[in-house]
């Protein structure tokens, strides 16, 4: 009760002081609303995975049915499934698109009806800067640089915290498996950023130091410093009770030993520990393949194998829980249709995304295919955009997590499929 009070007062005080700081009225409205909005449906989790560096969508979700694809990439193109036997060709999905041959893990998800690929999706901004494009995708406001918070944090702020949840369980409501809070989760709602679960502990072997630290925060004045400390000690207990150190992945799920694989393993741990995880985030680099990108084998193939195997392990490990979990993958933009002079591809425009979960509409590749003939390209060189990334983010957030105020999370978004009755349809 006392702590609940404290939180609400804190929220209000925060909003008021933001006003004096000079943030926008809409931000204030969102923050103030947060205290009153209907509460989160329990048990749903959204995992956002960001491929930083601009993944080459055309070699991830291969348009083997488009002849222009092969003309543009004489060395880099992935062969069509019909012409190549076995491992070196694309893995056929629908007779036109296929997965990169290293993505056998994703193929297994497709076969189980859990995978919804989207082609020619991305940011409407014309920028080809990694920095700007990541910024736009994480703030959810393309071409608007002044946005201070990330869209996932705005979602958290708009939805408010779960009323029946204790402060301790909401400590892990939003977790970034990263050293720093990423842009996408920056903002007024509380977020835990950690490289690993082990990090969320008090590192002392000196007897009763932890108890005495806790006592220091339980006594004294009731201010934001003490309040945060009390919440933290509660959260520690929740995590300890869940005992994530003793974790064994289910169904013999094989996580790669890579940092990315291990981060996903820990997200699974948190979900299964029942700590109230609603939004999780992890990112993975290595996609900026200007040089020696490789085809069926090589640099990109290795990145994709790690990516696909890690996600596959996570889905396998979560088992039936995937009914309540959606995984969303994204990358800031795609790459040039033509290969460049150094065996790679340069910064492009539209890309590919995957939405994965028990409630997605699988069995088809979503999004309209704009074609790769020269006149169909963006700026004469890149895959054109037919789906705004916000259409996907908004649909997943609305239909999976129950967001109703789309405009508060994606301000100014009036896309062709922005209205709730005209979704792209990735969520069934």
């Amino acid at each position: 009760m006392g702590e609940g009070m404290h939180r609400r007062v804190f929220l209000k005080g925060g909003a008021l002081s933001l006003l004096t700081l000079g943030l926008s009225p809409s931000f204030l409205r969102r923050t103030a609303l947060a205290a009153e909005l209907p509460r989160v449906a329990r048990g749903k989790t959204l995992i956002v995975l960001f491929q930083r560096g601009a993944a080459d969508a055309l070699n991830v979700l291969v348009p083997f049915g488009d002849r222009d694809y092969y003309a543009a990439r004489p060395q880099l193109a992935i062969g069509s499934p019909a012409r190549t036997n076995g491992a070196s060709g694309a893995i056929d999905l629908d007779g036109f698109f296929g997965l990169h041959p290293a993505m056998t893990g994703f193929k297994a998800l497709w076969d189980r009806g859990l995978l919804a690929p989207i082609q020619a999706v991305g940011s409407p901004s014309a920028t080809r800067s990694h920095f700007d494009a990541q910024d736009y995708m994480e703030t959810g406001t393309p071409d608007r640089k002044g946005t201070t918070d990330g869209w996932l944090n705005r979602y958290l702020a708009v939805k408010g915290t779960c009323e029946s949840c204790t402060p301790s369980s909401s400590a892990f409501r939003a977790v970034a498996m990263a050293a720093q809070t990423p842009r996408i989760l920056e903002g007024p709602a509380a977020v835990v950023a950690m490289n690993s679960i082990d990090e969320f502990s008090i590192r002392t072997n000196a007897g009763d130091a932890q108890q005495r630290l806790e006592a220091l925060y339980r006594t004294g004045r009731s201010d934001v410093v003490h309040g945060s400390g009390r919440d933290m000690f509660e959260a520690l207990k929740v995590l300890r009770a869940a005992n994530p150190q003793q974790y064994r992945p289910a169904a013999a799920a094989q996580y790669p030993r890579s940092p990315f694989g291990q981060r996903l393993l820990q997200i699974a741990q948190l979900i299964k520990a029942g700590v109230g995880l609603e939004v999780a985030f992890a990112d993975v680099g290595g996609w900026d393949t200007h040089v020696n990108q490789g085809g069926a084998q090589g640099q990109l193939a290795n990145r994709l194998r790690d990516f696909s195997d890690s996600v596959h392990a996570l889905v396998t490990d979560l088992g039936d829980r995937m009914d309540d979990v959606v995984i969303l993958t994204c990358s800031e933009f795609g790459r040039t249709v033509r290969q460049n002079g150094t065996g790679g591809t340069d910064h492009g425009h539209a890309g590919a995304m995957f939405v994965i979960g028990g409630s997605v509409r699988s069995g088809m590749v979503h999004g309209r295919w704009p074609g790769l003939a020269r006149e169909q390209l963006y700026d004469g060189r890149d895959l054109a955009l037919t789906t705004d990334f916000r259409a996907v983010f908004a649909e997943v957030t609305a239909r999976h997590l129950g967001l109703t105020d789309i405009d508060a999370v994606f301000p100014g978004y009036r896309g062709g499929i922005g209205g709730s009755d005209r979704w792209l349809g990735v969520m069934g």
Binding site: S17, T20, G22, D132, K145, R212, V224, N292, T342, R381
Partner: protein
């Protein structure tokens, strides 16, 4: 000339006084250390109230050392007490008169800190450039040796940013010109730039020098220096903002040349062996519809001068952006210094905040826009608010802000005088302001090192600790800079990290920090638990610990350990707990 003579004459005694003051205090501190430590906290606290100030004399000493400095070193309290709070404040407002002998030798230990952007770009080319160069050498293939070399080069390149961040922390720890360091931190945050945006990091040594030069000077000069700094031109894209097509430019390019321009530039780039990344940029620049980029113009008004409610419109943003077209970098996206390019400067007439700007003006037009913004009453209000928030409290009293804003306007944006108006005010020394601010991670780390007399760390590790605590220097992506509000820094993860920071300090896991080097260590080590706790409360917590805190620190020690080991370990533990305690999170 006579004036200068007088100034120098009056200055000399001041310097002398300072030297004497420090010398005297150091002796005093050494003598006082063992005697003073262990004395029960309240005993030394004098309750007299100084004039209209609500804070006690002792509180005032603590207050100025936490607001105009990054926390006290053990001897500082005695120094300020002896000099008098007001004299110390006046001295800090004149950093050029404060001897700062430890900084020059410190800076010499950094290899790349003195490098300019051009030197850095040459010695440590961006990884993309280096990679493509190597790939070309190898005919498209990279040998194992190449890739090892590239990785090495990239690591070395990242070092430069690490050195700058390290120097920021180290200077804040050791500099005697503490208020200047506080204001450097303030302005680098006010004019936030992000190292991670493409090649911005190469410009940051120069940017740091620019901010330092003007941190306590004239706001208009500072604003202009930032506007022309490659770091800001690059970070907020003004380097690529050009007149919209169809607009008259100051110096038109001949049409024949203009038509061939794209192809010429591309060919030239290919001939000089541009990397794929560079070629992409060339393509982008030559193919893109030429036009305005409003990014800098908007933040210039919203964040650097008027503030978000500063009364400007979207049309003003566009007009300011037009006035600043042609303010760019000599080598565009590859860097170089500030240049004005009349070929892309929008030469039309503009109206900005109701003020007409006639057609046909050049670089001076942008300078006039900066004059207009710097002298605007909303700017005075906004800068005064931010300074008062930094120096006084998260919600500074409006009357104080109004007075500071008037000083700012009256002195044409004299930063020193505006700060003076704030830090000599009754509001600054009010009871409400005392320990009202939550430390940022930077302040937490620096104040710890100062309290424990740790030497400056010239490695990157201490700066990395600041990063892990949530405040990587030059690592804030959005242009608004880090928040200066306590609640923004307080959440479960932050508290956990701060507690672990305290524990790592106490177990000598922080680079350069050895409790045994702390001057109080030897005298405290052999005392009883209660006396140890009181010493730590006095030296680290400025006597501001609650009775509960004192009791919690006193109780509990390992009864199985031998008595002397117990006492020494106990002291380290008390220090660790004190740094992790709620009281140490405030200043």
């Amino acid at each position: 000339m006579p004036l200068g003579h007088i100034a120098r004459r009056t200055m000399r005694p001041t310097v002398l006084l300072v030297t004497v003051g420090i010398g005297a205090v150091m002796t005093g501190a050494c003598a006082g250390t063992s005697a003073g430590i262990g004395a029960r906290s309240g005993a030394m606290g004098s309750m007299q109230i100084d004039g209209a100030r609500e804070q006690t004399a002792d509180q005032q000493v603590q207050h100025v050392l936490h607001r105009l400095a990054f926390g006290p070193r053990p001897q500082d309290v005695a120094t300020v007490r002896q000099m008098g709070v007001d004299a110390w404040v006046a001295q800090q407002l004149r950093p050029e008169r404060v001897a700062d002998p430890s900084v020059e030798p410190l800076l010499r230990q950094y290899r790349t800190l003195s490098y300019s952007a051009d030197q850095l770009l040459q010695e440590y080319p961006p990884p993309g450039v280096a990679l493509a160069q190597a790939a070309r050498r190898g005919g498209g293939a990279l040998s194992a040796q190449d890739s090892m070399q590239l990785r090495q080069q990239a690591r070395e390149g990242a070092r430069a940013l690490g050195e700058l961040a390290s120097s920021r922390v180290a200077r804040a720890v050791v500099s005697e010109r503490q208020l200047e360091e506080v204001l450097v931190d303030f302005w680098e945050n006010h004019f936030n730039v992000f190292a991670g945006k493409n090649i911005t990091r190469y410009f940051l040594n120069d940017f740091d020098r620019t901010i330092r030069q003007h941190a306590m000077g004239d706001f208009r000069t500072l604003l202009g220096a930032v506007a022309k700094s490659p770091a800001m031109l690059y970070y907020l894209d003004n380097w690529q903002s050009v007149a919209d097509s169809g607009r008259p430019v100051l110096q038109p390019i001949p049409p024949r040349l203009a038509a061939r321009r794209g192809e010429l530039v591309r060919r030239a780039a290919r001939q000089r062996g541009a990397t794929p990344e560079q070629m992409a940029r060339v393509e982008q620049v030559t193919q893109r519809r030429r036009g305005l980029n409003e990014n800098y113009a908007r933040e210039l008004m919203e964040l650097h001068t008027l503030g978000v409610d500063g009364g400007y419109t979207q049309q003003d943003v566009i007009e300011v952006a037009r006035a600043l077209t042609g303010w760019t970098l000599a080598r565009g996206g590859q860097g170089g210094g500030f240049v004005f390019r009349p070929q892309v400067h929008d030469a039309g007439a503009k109206t900005i905040l109701g003020v007409p700007f006639p057609a046909g003006r050049g670089q001076d037009e942008g300078d006039k826009v900066l004059d207009l913004l710097a002298s605007h009453p909303k700017t005075a209000q906004y800068i005064a608010t931010k300074l008062a928030r930094r120096l006084v409290s998260d919600t500074p009293p409006p009357a104080l802000v109004a007075r500071a804003a008037r000083t700012f306007s009256r002195t044409n944006g004299d930063i020193r005088e505006t700060v003076r108006a704030i830090v000599t005010s009754p509001e600054f020394f009010s009871a409400d302001a005392y320990r009202a601010k939550v430390k940022t991670p930077f302040e937490l780390v620096v104040s710890t090192l100062r309290a424990l007399e740790a030497p400056a760390d010239v490695t990157m590790r201490t700066a990395q600790v600041v990063s892990r605590l949530g405040q990587p220097l030059y690592g804030h992506q959005a242009p608004n800079g880090y928040p200066d509000m306590g609640d923004a820094w307080m959440n479960t993860g932050a508290i956990l990290n701060r507690i672990n920071f305290g524990l790592s300090v106490a177990s000598n896991r922080l680079p350069g920090v050895r409790l045994s080097q702390w001057s109080a260590y030897d005298s405290l080590r052999t005392l009883g638990r209660e006396a140890q706790v009181d010493g730590v409360i006095r030296l680290l917590l400025g006597d501001a610990a609650s009775n509960d805190t004192r009791q919690i620190l006193i109780t509990g020690s390992n009864p199985l350990a031998a008595a002397d080991v117990r006492a020494a370990n106990g002291l380290a533990q008390i220090v660790g707990l004190a740094i992790g305690a709620p009281e140490f999170q405030r200043r």
